[in-house]
Structures are given as structure tokens and as C-alpha cells.
């Protein structure tokens, strides 16, 4: 019970961080049809900016400043880079962001070096929130969950309940009609791209000190968030939410489990043939296969339900 509850909480907080990351990606994809390959790089940039700002003015300024700066940079990149390649089609846009991820990681190394930087959790939050059967749950994890929940709520309200949200949604399906009604669609696109990047930056501020702020941090989450977005269904925010939690829980539970096929058969009292028990696959524990589980999930979901869990259209 103790193990289940603690792992559940850890899985939830990791899943919510994944959602913070994939929300921006989903937003950009559903708006522009571009899978932004540099999204994880903006996450990394957010963490480094937060480190730089918080060492001067404190954590709470960084919490707002770093996402804002990341968002402005993202908007500028959309305006002066992406927009120029749009006429060559989606492949060119995807490749542009792919090249951008190379440049951003190099830029971060030029500015802050190749080693990890000491980006710390603020002192106020650096304490246990509560303790459960003797195991303490850190306050910062609770803060992470709170920020993710607030963000989910505000995106939902923004998209569904405001005029801006209406225009954004309409510009996705009927760009020409929206343009005829007098809205500046390219500017909406720029703002959405900037907004998505700002969300990635926010995830960086939150995740950078929960994990480690280093140049490899983009590569560490880069493919996982694609798995989240694709499994959830391309362009579906609710799908991304469910997939984030699913993958967060899946990975957190898997690393703590020590079962293997051999152990399972033993527990059932079945005598397995010698040839089988000598196979490596047979002895692998769930914890050992944990790193590949999200990708396995991706392949299975793609085979069974190509649209993803809540996707509305074929990719």
C-alpha cells in the first residue's frame, strides 16, 4: 500500500511534467500542423534561463521571466525562420525545427558550458510536504503538480471560453475564412508558436531543478514527448493529458518492479523447458525493460489505433 501510494504520487508528478511539455507541442501541432522538433530544446533553454535569472533575482521572477523570454524567442524564430520555409510545405518546416534543435543545444553549451549547472529548488519549497507511512513527499513535487494543473485549466479556459480561443481554433480549420473576417492569421500563428515555446520554457523552469539542468536534458525527454503526443492523438490536448499520465505512471511503476517471465512461471508452479529459461529475454525484469515501455506503447497504439487515443484526424 505504501509502495503503491508513493509510486502513484511520483508517477502523477512525472506525468504532469510530461504534460506541461507536451501541451505546448500539441498546441503548436494542432494549430500549424508542424511537429516542432526543437520543442525539447526550448524546454532546456527555459531551464538555463531560469538558472541564470534566479541566481540574480530569485526563483519567483525566473518563474515568469524565463517562459516569457523563451516565448519571445520562439515567436521571433517563427516570424523570421519558419514563415519563410512554410511555402515549401510541412516537411521543410519539420526539418527547419530539426536543424534548430542542433543550434539551440550548441548555443546553450557556448553560453553555459558542457557540465550541469547548479540550478536549485527554492528554499521555501525545499522541504517535505507531508509524510506517508514514514516516506516523505517533497513540497516541490506538489508545486509541480499544482502548476501543471493550473496550466491545464487556463489553457482550457483560454481556448474554449474566450474570443482569442475561438479565433485560434477557427484559424486551424478555416484560415482563409478567418483572414477574410479581418483577423491577422500569420500573427495568430506567430503567437501560438511563441505560446507553445513559452509553455516548454515553463516546463524547463519547473523540471530543470527537479531533475538536472545540463545540455543532454533536451535529448532525454525529446522522444518521450513525441510518444506522448502521438499516443494521445495528434493535436488533442485531452489525449496528451491522458497519455502523459499513462506514461508517467507506467515508467514510475515499471522501474520499481522486479518481476520477470521466469519469476512469473515459478510463482505459477510451471516447469519451463531448459531451452527457454536460458534465453536472456526470459530473465529480464520489468525494471530492466522500463526504458523501452513508452516506445513499445507507441508501436502498439499505432498498430491498434492509428489516430491515437483521442485523436480526431488521421495524420
Amino acid at each position: 500500500m505504501e509502495f503503491t501510494l508513493i509510486t502513484l504520487l511520483n508517477g502523477l508528478s512525472y506525468g504532469l511534467l510530461l504534460f506541461l511539455l507536451s501541451a505546448g507541442l500539441t498546441l503548436i501541432f494542432s494549430m500549424m500542423g508542424v511537429l516542432n522538433f526543437a520543442h525539447a530544446s526550448f524546454y532546456m533553454l527555459g531551464a538555463y534561463l531560469a538558472y541564470a535569472i534566479s541566481s540574480h533575482t530569485g526563483y519567483w521572477t525566473a518563474l515568469f521571466m524565463a517562459p516569457a523570454l523563451t516565448g519571445i524567442l520562439g515567436a521571433a524564430i517563427e516570424r523570421f525562420g519558419l514563415r519563410a520555409v512554410r511555402r515549401h510545405g510541412h516537411l521543410a518546416e519539420l526539418l527547419f525545427t530539426f536543424g534548430l534543435s542542433y543550434l539551440l543545444v550548441e548555443f546553450v553549451q557556448l553560453a553555459w558550458g558542457r557540465a550541469a549547472v547548479p540550478y536549485q529548488v527554492p528554499a521555501v519549497l525545499d522541504r517535505p510536504l507531508f509524510s506517508l507511512y514514514g516516506t516523505t513527499f517533497p513540497a516541490y513535487r506538489g508545486f509541480m503538480m499544482l502548476v501543471a494543473a493550473l496550466m491545464l485549466l487556463s489553457i482550457y479556459l483560454l481556448l474554449k471560453k474566450t474570443r482569442i480561443g475561438l479565433v485560434i481554433q477557427a484559424a486551424l480549420t478555416h484560415p482563409h475564412m478567418v483572414e477574410s473576417l479581418g483577423h491577422d492569421v500569420p500573427r495568430v500563428t506567430m503567437l501560438v508558436f511563441g505560446g507553445g515555446c513559452a509553455l516548454a520554457g515553463l516546463a524547463g523552469v519547473i523540471g530543470g531543478n527537479a531533475f538536472v539542468t545540463e545540455p543532454a536534458m533536451a535529448a532525454a525527454v525529446g522522444s518521450i514527448i513525441f510518444v506522448v503526443v502521438v499516443v494521445g492523438g495528434l493535436g488533442s490536448l485531452a489525449g496528451a493529458f491522458i497519455a502523459s499520465l499513462l506514461i508517467g505512471l507506467l515508467q514510475t511503476f515499471a522501474v520499481a518492479l522486479d518481476f520477470s517471465l521466469a519469476g512469473l512461471l515459478q510463482a505459477l508452479g510451471v516447469e519451463a523447458p531448459q531451452a527457454l529459461t536460458r534465453l536472456r529475454l526470459f530473465k529480464l525484469t520489468v525494471a530492466e525493460v522500463a526504458p523501452i515501455l513508452p516506445y513499445l506503447l507507441l508501436v502498439i497504439v499505432m498498430l491498434l489505433r492509428p489516430r491515437g487515443l483521442l485523436g480526431v484526424r488521421e495524420s
Binding site: G81, Q109, Y295
Partner: protein
């Protein structure tokens, strides 16, 4: 008749020139690391050509092509080790074939899964599969050799006609021979009915389906064939380095071949060859001179996506057209165009010089500060500690950029007037 014979004469010229270039290349670059780099380029060329069967001819964006070349490399090194034990009668020259067979074996499984989708879905599945295989490498140390990888020794058995494959030059010619045969086979593939239908599937899957071809089946066959050639390139790499590690099957290698192909030009059959040369140059040669090579690779790639989607091959064919136009119009009539072209080239050179200066000085200040503040750039000593150099670099970059932007519209107009499409390479 004359038309056909002149075309086949052109073919003989192109392929003969290609073979000749492969033969004489080691004579020109025989010093130091030259041979090793040429061997790596040859391997990368086979890999890039096989990748372009998917991307250029089939419109399939794959992020996992290294899976086939990497698993092919593992198959090849195991085959080599078995041959060394005497338990597999396989001459060293045919080890790449074992790599190809390995590529096909894994290709059959992975293609069955991934080709169910096209477009973004296909790209995402390939991304998932490359991560899957890469993570498995540490789980199954028996086949993958764990962290250290699997090593082998290519000098086995008695020398055949004096060839033992010990010296690098013999390995180079083996790679060159395989490269030539694979290039010919892959070029032949573009001329087969399957290759043509693949183009149709890329351009309009609905219509291809309507005339009776199953797009999924076409993609499946192509991916398996492409996996064969990728496996051959993996086998060549295994022979060249005599060691195969997990980095051979990783995302980075898969991403690299995409960069190479795009820089070379995916619309032309020979584009990936140029891309492999440029890519190996950027990653292997440049990385020995500057730590910022990854920046240059990314920057060249972005520049290509933005300004020259046709890649190096596109630029080359534009230059050829320009040359033809100059010959047609006469030298005097096209002096204006040539002048514009020279001015554009000068502006581009200024942008390049300014960027390289700034990047190298920035790099020296942040990551290599321990080596002192001076940078030797083509014989010019730059001092990263002195603001004058920074100002100079910035001015060079800015002036070049402004001039380039100013000149480009005029150049485009000129090209349009001559019926050259929109601009030389831009």
C-alpha cells in the same frame, strides 16, 4: 535514335567518371587520415543512397534508418567472427553481403509494422522503433556486446591474390567496389516499374491505389530493399572499423543520414553522394579543427532548408544552367548577370567569414578558455579578448547580410528573364 544514343553516351560518361573518381581518389588524398576519411565517406554514401530511396523517391521521412545499417553491422561482425573461427565459409569481401542479409531480416519485421502508416505517422513509428532497438542494445549484451560493443579482426585466412584486407587501401577499394555496385543497383531500381510506382505513391497515393497498386505494399517492398543496402553499408563500416557499438543503431546516426541527404539534395539521385561527402567532412574533418562543428552542421542544414531546398545537387544543376545560359547568350550579353553573381558570392563569403569569426571567438571564450584567447583562423590570428575583433566580425556579418538581401531580388529578376527558374541556388 540519335537522342537515345546521346543519352546512353551521357550515362557512360557519368558512370565512367564516377568509377574513375573512386579509383583515383586515394591517390590524391593519400596522406595521413585521408584514406580513412575516404573509406568513411564511401560507407556513408551507400547509407545515404539507401536512405534516399525512402525519403527522396518514396516521400517516407524515417527517423530510424540507422536501425537497419546498425543491425546489419552487428550481423556482419558476428559473421566475420564466425568466419574467423572457421565455422562459416565466408570470404571477407562478402561480409557486407551478410550485413545486407541482416538488414533485410530486420527490415522485414520493422517494415511490416511501420509501413502501415505514411507521413507523420510513419515518421513517429520509426522514431519509436529506433529508440526501442537502441534501448534493447543494453538489455541483450550477448548480441550487442553491451557498452563495449563487439570487435572483430578482418585479416583472416590466407591472402587471396595477395589481398589480405589488412592495409587501409585494400579496405578502401573493397568499399569503393561495393559502393559502385550498390549505386548502380539503386539507380537501376529507380528505372524499374516498382521504382516508378513508388514515385506515384509519393506524389499521390490515392491515384496510385486507384490504378491498382497497394501503396502500403509498395512502401513495404521499398523499405525492405532499402534496408538491404543500409545493411551493406553497416557491413562495410564493420569491416572498416573492426568494431560495432550501440551508437551504430542510435537516433543520432539516423538523424545524421537525414541531414546528409537533405544537404546533398534529395531530389537528385546523386545528391546524397554529395551530401555524404559534405556530411563526413563536417562531422569528421571539421571536428578535428573546431569544437563548434555541430553548430556549423546545424547552420548549414537550416540554411539549406531556407534557401536551397534542392540541396547541393540543386545548386550544382542551377550553376550548370547558368553556365549554359551564359554560353547561349554570349559573354558580353550576360556580363551583368555574371557581375551580379560575383557580388552575391562575395556577400555570401562575407557572411560566412563574419559568422565563423564570431563563433570561433565565442567558442574560445566559453568552452576553450583554458587554451588562451587567440584563435588561428586560416593563418589570421584573432584575439577573442580584444573588442576590435568582435566589432570587425559583426560588421562583416551585417554588411554581408544587407548586401545579400539587396542583391537577391535583382538576381532573381535576371534569372527569370533568362528562363532559369527562380535564382541560382537561392
Amino acid at each position: 535514335m540519335t537522342r537515345i544514343s546521346s543519352r546512353s553516351a551521357g550515362n557512360v560518361l557519368v558512370w565512367g567518371g564516377y568509377a574513375f573518381a573512386l579509383l583515383v581518389a586515394p591517390l590524391l588524398f593519400s596522406q595521413g587520415a585521408g584514406l580513412s576519411i575516404l573509406s568513411q565517406m564511401g560507407t556513408a554514401m551507400v547509407f545515404a543512397l539507401s536512405y534516399n530511396m525512402l525519403l527522396g523517391q518514396g516521400g517516407m521521412l524515417s527517423f530510424g534508418h540507422a536501425v537497419y545499417s546498425g543491425l546489419g553491422a552487428y550481423t556482419a561482425i558476428h559473421a566475420l567472427n564466425l568466419a574467423a573461427d572457421g565455422s562459416l565459409p565466408l570470404p571477407v569481401a562478402l561480409v557486407p553481403l551478410a550485413g545486407g542479409v541482416g538488414g533485410v531480416a530486420f527490415g522485414l519485421v520493422f517494415a511490416y509494422i511501420s509501413t502501415r502508416k505514411s507521413g507523420t505517422g510513419f515518421a513517429m513509428i520509426t522514431l519509436g522503433m529506433v529508440e526501442l532497438v537502441f534501448a534493447s542494445a543494453l538489455m541483450f549484451p550477448g548480441f550487442f556486446g553491451g557498452e563495449g560493443g563487439i570487435s572483430g579482426n578482418r585479416v583472416i585466412g590466407a591472402p587471396f591474390f595477395g589481398i589480405s584486407f589488412g592495409p587501409q587501401i585494400e579496405v578502401y577499394y573493397l568499399i569503393a567496389a561495393w559502393l559502385f555496385c550498390c549505386s548502380a543497383a539503386m539507380y537501376g531500381f529507380t528505372r524499374t516499374p516498382l521504382g516508378r510506382i513508388l514515385n506515384a505513391v509519393r506524389d499521390n497515393p490515392q491515384r496510385a491505389e486507384f490504378i491498382g497498386y497497394d501503396p502500403r505494399h509498395v512502401r513495404f517492398l521499398t523499405l525492405v530493399l532499402s534496408a538491404f543496402f543500409a545493411g551493406v553499408s553497416g557491413g562495410l563500416a564493420a569491416l572498416n572499423f573492426e568494431i560495432v557499438g550501440a551508437e551504430n543503431i542510435g537516433v543520432a546516426r539516423s538523424a545524421g543520414v537525414l541531414l546528409f541527404c537533405f544537404i546533398g539534395g534529395i531530389g537528385h539521385f546523386f545528391g546524397p553522394l554529395l551530401g555524404a561527402v559534405a556530411g563526413v567532412f563536417l562531422t569528421v574533418v571539421l571536428s578535428t579543427y573546431t569544437g563548434a562543428w555541430q553548430f556549423y552542421l546545424g547552420a548549414v542544414f537550416i540554411l539549406m532548408v531556407m534557401c536551397a531546398p534542392g540541396g547541393l545537387a540543386g545548386i550544382a544543376s542551377r550553376l550548370l544552367e547558368l553556365l549554359q545560359a551564359v554560353c547561349r547568350e554570349g559573354f558580353a550579353a550576360s556580363a551583368g548577370l555574371l557581375g551580379l553573381w560575383a557580388a552575391l558570392a562575395a556577400a555570401a563569403l562575407a557572411i560566412l567569414a563574419g559568422t565563423v569569426m564570431l563563433i570561433e571567438m565565442l567558442y574560445r571564450r566559453s568552452l576553450a578558455a583554458a587554451d588562451g584567447s587567440t584563435v588561428n583562423l586560416f593563418g589570421v590570428l584573432l584575439d577573442a579578448a580584444r573588442p576590435a575583433w568582435w566589432i570587425f566580425g559583426t560588421i562583416l556579418l551585417a554588411a554581408g547580410a544587407v548586401a545579400f538581401m539587396r542583391l537577391l531580388p535583382g538576381f532573381r529578376r535576371h534569372c527569370d528573364a533568362l528562363g532559369l527558374g527562380s535564382g541560382g541556388g537561392a
